[in-house]
Symmetry: C2
């Protein structure tokens, strides 16, 4: 494509409302334009990236035996009433009436529609398993749309649904999709992790989020450093932490009190005593369904309330008030310790506290702490357990190697639905014995628009986007530095024809613009490989080149460019491996 | 694709609600399923046809220099208020409020959105012309959705919009799209006609409908028999009819009265007098804005009220009441003639009446007609004009060859919008002199879902669909008649691999079903070429073949099938030329 006949309206500055980098660059590179809050038009350059993402997804879904269909956007309310979601879904579900005053919604997801389709079609186990997908526009009426494509209202999504006779089949379908998703994001050349999306118990896990890693990601995940040999990753808040392999029973000197005037926080105590916060034991007091509970963890760690609540199996878990702390410790807030609490029957210690046996803790006395506290000797611990967020260096629950923390953007989610919809909507089949059984379902989504945004969040620098080749609207840009120079034009045309013959997506910047503008635009729109044709370099017999990701300029022969180009193209691809 | 792993749920009978053949066959061939009134899911086999249509359109739009974008489905009301269509559009426009009580609609068309986009982008004449298109789901809340995909509520549409500096440019854009549309429907191997969609005046015509010809079509068009050398076609009601080249002035015997007791209608008079209705002159009396008018035409022709009203340039045109007829003719209804009317100053005669000079007409006297009426001698004709519907044999207003009548289904519409939207929404550009001008627009639609339905309406027989190869979900079906026979399986696999290597879309019916079912299904789903592999024919060294459109079975060598196949494939393609 020639830039002169392409509509790629680049901008020097992004509109002020654009908060995140992908939103800014999508606007600046002429990929999208806003129609209204959370709703965008895809311009030609952006649509090419969107279609590349969609086609990679399509290819691997087909390879995995899923079949493409296209369901309607407008869905009748009665199906949602049947599944019970008409009441439950809330205001994100855009509802309306047609001219005959019948209720409908604009589909945010398609479990009801596909379950309705299948229950009208499937009679026998012979028709199963089945896996159907679509790539289609969805609508979710977000209360506060923001971050451009990251949290929009109308967006493109791939959603797939599997239908199996039994759990074994459903698990196989899930695994098949898990593998397809890994291939999809690998084929997109994105740095990603599949993340366990339930509490992270080892073994049968039937919900994974696929996260594109980016410093700007909203989610923090604990990922195994042994990737890709070990694929474990989990949201830090949901990542299981194992007990230590060996329990430290080193002897501990006698406990002794030390004055710590005005040192309430872990940091203040550490500073006052000239020790690391890691040497301090933190005692947190709660009221769990009205009964006092103490939770102990290392001074530098964050308690995970959800884990603690699940462990205690209580309905209400609240921090103790200053008055309650005074009662339970006989001291003001900031000096609690586990060795002499008053009326606290339940003391939960984080697993990690078993790795040492000599702690500094509150003395349950104002302005005082104790040194040499041994949990084994001095305290009555109800249970050692996993009650904190995962941190870098924690042990991978799958392979035992260290975990590291990463920021991520969710782009996909796979889920074993079980019989949630098939039971509510009576989607059944007859088994080999003529007995009626409920179909077991799974659902598998990818936010296609979001993939494009996440790709940009992951791959950019101060000059603009750095598209990975599989998602790049064009793989190569030919930059004509002097459209008035016949030799330059001729060489550009020659290169352009050559690329097209090789079926490479090529953009030829033939515009009548200054070289400075062309360089800036080329970097901004992020095409992986630049071929720069100028009068001076042509006289020297070379074409300048730049691999956008690497940045430095190089050159190839202007005359015998074909072989050089092959190597250069390969080098560009390798930069993404 | 193997049928055993394809979801193609064919049906023996179509649901009773399916009225038209395309709806029946789309359901029976497992292409679509109904979700709710006028809203359908595309199943895998149907979606393949839909995508083939979309890709042919995409290809030719790109070739014509139009660029693909993707606009949102959900559109804010304020744009529609600006264009004035929020009030005018009526109930077909599906309106709703979002969670913040702001008004939106579900896009039935995108003039407002694209005009809003362009007015924010275009500053200078240098940015024009521009032509953008999208292939996207539309919604129109039809009062009575019916005929399956022919009049659905949610459907896939290609809509393009052109933007030019001046009329000359806009006309060029229109012509460019006219040609692209001709290529699109030609490439689909559909029998179609572009139809002039205004009153059909010769020369500058800026609205065309593209009609797929089918006996079941709702529209009747007059098309030139000289196609494709002459592309003229028009709706019969809007087709211009030219005056005859030579006026007949043959001498006419003296007028004489003849008794025609109880013969009121043209047919009754013709039968009574043993003449053709073509020899009778029909006199129709009207009140035009309160004044009497007579319209004359040949006995076998239909008056076109719109043409007459436009010609008279009146606000109201009504048939004269029996009392008025009595007054104007001094006779009861059925015996009016143009030679002795009372107080009728305006007498319009159809052009065709100039081709003869000896007519039978009413005598303006009860139960009486006259023979040998000469309009030139006996009557005062105000004007000869075009006041009837076109008929087969009328002269093409473009080339002079005869017209023929065809039934058609509208699948595309191109339209020069002018400044309707750009003026209302202030979409302007600065010209070479820095002067502000309004952008001239055109819009160009194709109903992609409707193309698939129209294709089936045009191409079917009692056994099912006959897909033209470019729109066929698969071009070839390999029918395995005996999946228990090793030699048959091996030959089928060999053929299957060969077709796939040749990049032919092939469906392999490997199901464990009886041959009868497979034959019926193959005919039903309408794949253009069938390769039938059975044990008996294999023993004879042949593979049976059937070109769906031709019907008769033939055979090719089972051993050296490659060359035979090439010829057969070519023969199949030729059947569609």
């Amino acid at each position: 494509m020639r830039w002169s006949s392409s509509y790629i309206p680049t901008l020097k500055e992004a509109p002020a409302e654009a908060e995140v980098i992908s939103h800014k660059l999508l606007l600046r590179a002429g990929m999208i334009r806003k129609l209204t809050s959370g709703i965008y038009t895809w311009l030609p350059f952006g649509l090419r990236a969107l279609n590349k993402a969609a086609n990679i997804i399509r290819q691997e879904m087909n390879n995995a035996g899923s079949q493409e269909i296209l369901m309607p956007s407008v869905q009748p309310a009665d199906l949602w009433q049947e599944s019970g979601r008409w009441q439950k879904y809330g205001k994100e579900l855009l509802r309306f009436k047609d001219r005959h005053e019948r209720d409908y919604c604009l589909g945010p997801t398609h479990e009801e529609v596909i379950t309705d389709l299948l229950r009208g079609e499937v009679r026998s186990y012979r028709q199963l398993p089945l896996n159907l997908y679509q790539i289609q526009t969805k609508f979710r009426d977000e209360i506060r749309p923001r971050f451009g494509l990251m949290r929009g209202r109308e967006f493109l999504m791939k959603d797939a649904y599997s239908f199996d006779c039994n759990d074994e089949g459903a698990d196989k379908s899930y695994k098949n999709m898990f593998e397809a998703y890994n291939k999809i994001f690998t084929n997109m050349a994105l740095n990603f992790r599949p993340v366990e999306a339930d509490t992270g118990a080892i073994g049968g896990n039937f919900s994974h989020e696929f996260m594109v890693l980016a410093e700007t990601g909203e989610d923090t995940i604990a990922a195994c450093t042994n990737w890709p040999n070990c694929t474990f990753a989990a949201n830090v808040e949901r990542c299981a932490i194992l007990p230590p392999k060996t329990i430290n029973s080193d002897s501990c000197p006698d406990m002794e009190e030390v004055a710590t005037p005005n040192s309430h926080t872990v940091e203040e105590v550490a500073e006052f005593l000239h020790v690391s916060t890691k040497n301090i034991l933190k005692t947190l007091l709660f009221m769990a369904d009205g009964k006092p509970v103490a939770a102990l963890l290392r001074g530098d760690r964050e308690l995970n309330l959800i884990k603690l609540k699940n462990l205690l199996d209580v309905d209400e878990l609240e921090f103790a008030t200053p008055e309650q702390v005074q009662q339970l410790t006989n001291a003001p807030v900031g000096f609690a310790g586990p060795h002499s609490l008053i009326g606290v029957d339940t003391v939960i210690a984080d697993y990690e506290l078993q790795t040492a046996n000599d702690w500094i803790a509150g003395a349950n006395k104002g302005d005082t702490h104790v040194l040499h506290l041994s949990l084994q000797r001095d305290c009555k611990i109800t249970r050692y357990a996993d009650i904190r967020n995962a941190e870098a260096g924690d042990v991978c629950p799958h392979c035992g190697k260290p975990l590291e923390l990463k920021k991520g953007i969710e782009v996909g989610h796979i889920f074993k639905l079980g019989t949630k919809y098939s039971e509510a909507m009576h989607a059944v089949y007859l088994d080999e014995n003529g007995k009626e059984n409920t179909i077991i379902m799974g659902c598998y989504g990818i936010g296609v628009s979001r993939v494009v945004a996440a790709c940009i969040e992951q791959n950019n620098d101060e000059n603009g986007i750095m598209f990975p080749p599989p998602l790049a609207p064009y793989e190569i840009i030919i930059i004509n530095l002097d459209p008035k120079n016949q030799a330059v034009n001729a060489k550009c045309e020659e290169l352009y024809v050559h690329m097209k013959e090789k079926n490479i997506d090529v953009l030829y910047d033939d515009r009548e613009e200054r070289p400075g503008i062309k360089f800036k635009d080329a970097d901004l729109v992020g095409i992986p490989l630049q071929l720069i044709v100028g009068g001076k370099s042509l006289e020297k017999g070379v074409i300048e080149t730049k691999i956008r990701k690497i940045g430095e300029k190089s050159s190839i022969s202007a005359e015998n460019y074909k072989a050089d180009f092959e190597n250069l193209y390969q080098e560009m691809l390798n930069a993404w491996k």
